[in-house]
Structures are given as C-alpha cells and as structure tokens.
C-alpha cells in the first residue's frame, strides 16, 4: 500500500492549501466591503473636482497656471498605482502591460520617461525591467492616508514645474465591479479639458478673492484627490481580484481532492482484490 499512503499525504496537503485559500478568500471579501465603502465615499468629491478643473481648462484665466498650459511633449511622468501584495490574479500584470505599452509608444517618439510608484509590486516590476524611478511609496496598508501620498505627488509636481516632465499620467485600476477591474491611464497634467463642449468660447471666472490663490488651491486639491482616489480604488480592486482568485483556487483544490480521492479508492480496491485472489489461490493450492 505504498502508493496509497503517498496519495493520502497528497490529499492532506491539498486540503491544507485549500484551508489557506478559503481563509484568504473570506478575509479579502470582508476587506473588500470596507475598501468599497471608502472608495464610494470619496468618489463624488473626486468626480466633481475633476469636472471643475475640466471647466477651468476651458476658461481663459487671467492668471496662467503652468498646469493649464500644454507644453511640447519631450519627457513624460507616470504615477503607477499597484498593490503591495500579490495573489490577486492578473490585476497588477494587466496594469503593467497597459503601462508598458503606453510607455513604448512614447519611447518610439523619443519621449523620455520618469516614474513614480505606489505599491511594492510596481517597485519590483520596474526594478526588473528598468526605468528612471523618481519616487516610490509602499506599505500603504488598507487605509491609506493622504499625507503618505503627498511626497510622491510633490516630487512629480516639482518635476513638472521645473520642466523636467511635460505630461503627468496616472496608471491605475478602476473598479467596475467585483469581477471586473479595468486598468486605465488618466492624464493629470496639464489639465485635460472636460467633455462639455458648450464652454468652448472666450470666458473667464469671477474670482473671489483672487485668481492665483483659488486656481492654485483648486489644482492642488485636484491632484491630491485624484491620486488618493486611485489608491483607494486600487485597494478595492486588489481585494476583489484576490477574492475571485482565491475562490477559484479553492474550487480547483476541491476538484484536485476529488480526483486524488478517486485514485486512492481505486488503488485501495485493486490491492484488496489482489490480496483476496492471492488468498483464494493459496487456499486452492493447499
């Protein structure tokens, strides 16, 4: 019964793995709910400020903020928002694939690239394939704080202000639903015009109290809230992706156990039959 014991051991080990994946699935499910609440809470603010800044890009403002002026594209910056941990299906891989294909397009036009990275997966990925990393931040945990992200953002804003980069993009996962997460590239700087074409005429705001302070504050807020939203959304995506990945791993484990169990039973039956026939043959010989 040597083979039988081997199969039994194997079944046990798959069962142990299954316990782990099952636990991870449940943890991810409960974290996902919290992450989703957080994401939904800040979404309206982010959408609205994005809208306002989109309007601002149409306005012929008396104070020309560099964020509103498009320069010739010589060098671009990307902020890549990934997760810290793996075991979440193809989430990070799909994101990096999109980022790399976009970067390649830029490199073909002789446009240089600078990177800022959020999350350990992005850090290790770009360490492997190379790239000029200006800043990174990891270990944001499940409840990221805006203060932790400001450093990365500041590095990129400074790079933009000193003409080192002429565009700033953010590469992020956007949460569609539990089953689907879509990697996206959004242009942060210079501010892209909103979709409302009716604003395409010569107008300017009335400012209270002054244009510089207001535009500065609004644009700063805009960048902060978009980056924060990207990070919060990424956590929701990560948890959802992990939950789905662990669910399928648990299901696969069940299937493997069933197959092994069948093999074990067959083996057991065969050895019993063999023993019986040996006994019968022995008895007949006497």
């Amino acid at each position: 019964m040597a083979a039988g014991k081997e199969i039994r051991n194997k079944i046990q080990s798959v069962k142990n793995t299954q316990k782990i994946t099952k636990a991870m699935e449940m943890v991810a499910a409960s974290k996902m709910r919290k992450a989703q609440d957080r994401m939904r809470a800040s979404r309206p603010y982010t959408n609205k400020i994005h809208e306002i800044v989109g309007h601002m890009a149409y306005a012929h403002t008396e104070y020309k903020h560099p964020f509103l002026n498009a320069r010739v594209k010589k060098r671009v910056g990307y902020i890549v928002v990934s997760s810290d941990k793996g075991l979440c299906g193809g989430l990070n891989v799909n994101l990096f694939k999109l980022a790399v294909s976009d970067m390649k397009k830029n490199m073909d036009q002789n446009v240089g690239i600078d990177l800022a990275l959020c999350g350990r997966k992005a850090v290790s990925f770009f360490k492997r394939i190379g790239g000029n990393v200006l800043a990174n931040v990891n270990h944001l945990g499940d409840e990221p704080k805006l203060e932790e992200l400001i450093g990365v953002l500041k590095v990129m804003i400074d790079a933009y202000n000193t003409d080192q980069i002429d565009r700033l993009y953010i590469v992020q996962n956007s949460f569609v639903n539990t089953m689907t997460q879509k990697p996206e590239i959004i242009q942060l700087l210079p501010v892209a015009r909103g979709e409302d074409m009716s604003l395409n005429y010569h107008w300017d705001y009335i400012y209270e109290p002054d244009s510089k302070g207001l535009i500065d504050a609004t644009l700063q807020r805009y960048l902060e809230s978009l980056l924060y939203q990207a990070v919060v959304e990424n956590i929701s995506c990560e948890m959802a992706a992990r939950m789905v990945a662990m669910k399928s791993a648990t299901d696969n484990a069940t299937e493997v156990i069933n197959r092994l169990q069948l093999a074990y039973n067959k083996e057991r039956q065969a050895s019993i039959t063999q023993e019986l026939s040996e006994i019968v043959a022995g008895a007949a010989a006497v």
Partner: protein, 141 residues
Amino acid sequence: MASNPTLQVDIVSAEKLLYSGVAEMVVAPAVNGQIGILPRHAQLITHLLPGEVRVTVPDEEQPISIYVSGGILEVQPNHVTVLSDTAVRAKDLDEAAALEARKKAEEAISNKHSDIDLAQAQSMLAESIAQLNMIRKRKSK
C-alpha cells in the same frame, strides 16, 4: 412656479454626496460675504468660509440648509458645485459637540503651550461658532 428657471446644484464633501438636484437659488458664505446665486449667473469661483449653504428648492417651503466647513464653490451658468471638506445637513448638527469644540478651541488660543497651533485653533473656533449660529437659528424658527 414650475416655469421658473432652475439650476443644478451638487454639494459634496470629502466623505459623501450631500445634495444633488435642482434649485431656484443658492446662498453660500463666500470669503467676501454671503453670495446668492440665481440661474444664468456668470461663471464664478470662490473659497467658502465655514457656514450655512441654503438651497431653495422649487415647490418646497423651507430651503435646504447644509453646514459646510469651508471649501470651494464653482458656478457655471446653470450649475453650482460646492466642494467642501466636511459638510453636514443642518438637522444633523450636534450642538453638544459644537460647544465642546468651541471650548477646546478657545482654550487652545488662550493657552500658548497647547499642542494645537494657533491657526488651527482659530479655524476650529470659526467652524464651531458657525455651527452654533446655525443651530441657534434653526431653534428660533
């Protein structure tokens, strides 16, 4: 009434969407004084002080009253957006908490050695006073 022009109003805080709908008029505490916005107002953008945003809704007698802790207000001809750090519906304001906050802020201002710095304490004081004013006004109605 129904033929009156209206504007779309969205009031959001960092935590949630507080109000989204049509209105006949919006009154908000801008830095240079209260401003009232009617439909077809010229584009305007301003900082807000802590205080009350009143939204006059068609076919409703009482305007909707929302407390904001400051933020940004943007006006497009038929669209008003209020971006606030914190915003609370007037009826959800907590008088005890506001009184407590005012006491703390006043203490911090008079006591130089507290861990809260002066600017922060002053903004806390302004916020709590604005909240208390709103609560008082609501009660006296």
